[in-house]
Symmetry: C2
């Protein structure tokens, strides 16, 4: 017997994460000088200068462990979201919060409903924890269909994961649809609002009313802090002590905590950036001569048929623009791409490059 | 049925993590001005100034996600440890590396051997993943007894976790003992070398020879970067692709990566700090008038009988010195404390305060 037989059987079925090409790799492969990357829904403006200043002040505090609970950050998140601070938990990005939720609820054979296409990490987490994933629940416009979601729920269903605005399709779930699901099912409903700051509405007002609603959020997108790894969850109060037991005690580093605190002290800056990005998003919808879908995120999905998404993405890459080919996003088909909204000059280059491809 | 019945049954059995009191809490509770904390085995000197400068340079890079693989950091760790870079993996501290190892190997009912007293987080992780923990395997001097370890292994045993130098007892495992265990068991042996830089030997030379040896290490201790959350694992090569699939893709933030890189560019600084701490450790053993155990870490275990560890710790706290009461460390009994080695002036205050208590 070899030692790899000691591995959990589930591990073998977990798909390897396939990262996109980095700017450096593309530069080398195609001999390009200048590359723009519009592939990871990052915020091109970065955080407020107040965050940078706060982080400098925290650099003398790196030798000590983070505290396990950060009440002053929960206070600030409570203020910002209007949710009771006792319903706020922290984690290493939305990824970290989600992983702790999987650890809390999922063991081998439990069911997870993941209406696709959506953020592929949900499916990976479900596979890691031995969950059985079901991917139905969206109609032809990619909107959530509550009847189909409810019909999929069984006594083994523990989690329904809804991304809103949905990555990559861009649409948000109306609160009346969400309420209908929350009321008709006996399982937890996770609404991943990583992109909520770019959207026309969100589900915050429902948090105090439902014992089975969890919202996850992040400082990676609108606040421009993807590199710091900090997010939060808004949980029903009964779940908070269990989350605190299971979440890794030192999951958010000292700089992540300090950065998040400072970011919430300059919400005005974040809002000004969001305004610019939303304006640019609408400009792209008008000026890109490919079929785009309406979006409430900082990204757009587009259908590039008759091109395949792979040839389109590759051709654009040779012109120095990296976007996301969605062929590996379950349920997205073979002609969809996702474009992150960049700075105006980056978007200009994107528009120009796409015009050269589709000749419009 | 209430929603908390959806939780995995194992979650209910996970003990809540009980953090020590923070400096602020102790100040308020006892009305003290000055407090020193020698309770978390932190490095009082912090990182090299080169690390601080490198981190400042990375502050303009916070809006982008970390890369999933950092080959240049694996190179540097390879150089530093003498282990092949293809056997190096990264994680969010030793905690993060260990959690990924539990995810890889442990499902409900699998056995984990955790010779105690040792770092309590192993036991918590085992409980989270549904492992059955066995705590035997040390003799009266707290040394590992290979016969007892081997006798405890069954066909359900997946992991043996050995901390070396062991937190809190301070002793390291001789390599011949480790080799004996590696050769006699058919399970993975994890050696947590978080404190290796303070020790007289380590197990690095064995990494290339055993398919079932895993070493975990960290930048939190000798390198003074506990607040950044970065550690690494040295794995048999067959395990690396599986680890990469299961480890959270963005588990180490951009600053953690940049800080670790810079730390390894100034190993000389780290070694100079380690020399000071080891010298202070030996001074404490001589000058503290309580029974201490030999230690290869940056901490000392002591037996304070006839005092109980709780009354001793509390009395010391009132004098402004926070140390670790080991009564919650399984197998440590009720008269043991752990003291982290501080700066000389902190150690002076510790010696003086303990003299006042034991009147020697």
């Amino acid at each position: 017997m070899s030692f790899d037989e000691l591995l959990r059987k589930e591990v073998k079925n977990v798909p390897a994460y396939v990262p996109g090409k980095s700017i450096e790799e593309v530069k080398q492969e195609f001999g390009l000088e200048k590359i723009i990357k519009l592939a990871s829904n990052e915020n091109p403006y970065g955080p407020s200068q107040k965050v940078i200043r706060a982080l400098k002040d925290h650099l003398n505090n790196l030798n000590v462990y983070p505290r396990i609970d950060i009440p002053e950050l929960r206070d600030k998140i409570g203020e910002y979201t209007g949710v009771d601070r006792d319903q706020v938990v922290l984690g290493a990005g939305v990824d970290g919060v989600l992983e702790t939720l999987f650890k809390l609820f999922i063991r081998k054979g439990d069911e997870v409903i993941i209406p696709s296409p959506t953020f592929p990490y949900y499916e990976i987490l479900s596979a890691i924890y031995g969950g059985m994933s079901k991917y139905e629940g969206r109609n032809e416009n990619y909107d959530i269909d509550p009847d189909r979601i409810v019909a999929d729920v069984t006594s083994r269903t523990k989690l329904i994961i809804l991304c809103s605005p949905n990555n990559p399709t861009g649409n948000s779930i109306p609160n009346n649809v969400l309420k209908e699901i929350l009321e008709r099912v006996h399982c937890m409903v996770v609404v991943d609002e990583a992109y909520a700051e770019f959207a026309d509405w969100n589900a915050l007002e429902l948090v105090s009313s439902y014992e089975n609603l969890i919202i996850t959020r992040t400082f990676s997108k609108a606040f421009g802090l993807a590199g710091l790894r900090i997010g939060y969850g808004l949980l029903p109060e009964w779940l908070v002590p269990e989350y605190m037991k299971i979440n890794p005690p030192f999951s958010t580093g000292n700089l992540a905590i300090g950065g998040a605190m400072a970011a919430l002290e300059d919400v005005k800056y974040m809002k000004s950036i969001v305004r610019i990005i939303k304006k640019e998003r609408e400009r792209l919808i008008k000026e890109l001569c490919i079929h785009t879908y309406p979006s409430q995120g900082n990204f757009l999905m587009a259908d590039v048929s008759p091109f395949s998404s792979s040839e389109f993405t590759e051709t654009l890459m040779k012109k120095g623009v990296i976007i996301r080919d969605l062929k590996r996003f379950r349920g997205a088909g073979t002609t969809k791409i996702r474009i992150s909204v960049g700075k105006p000059e980056e978007n200009d280059l994107l528009i120009k490059s796409i015009k050269e491809i589709v000749k419009c």
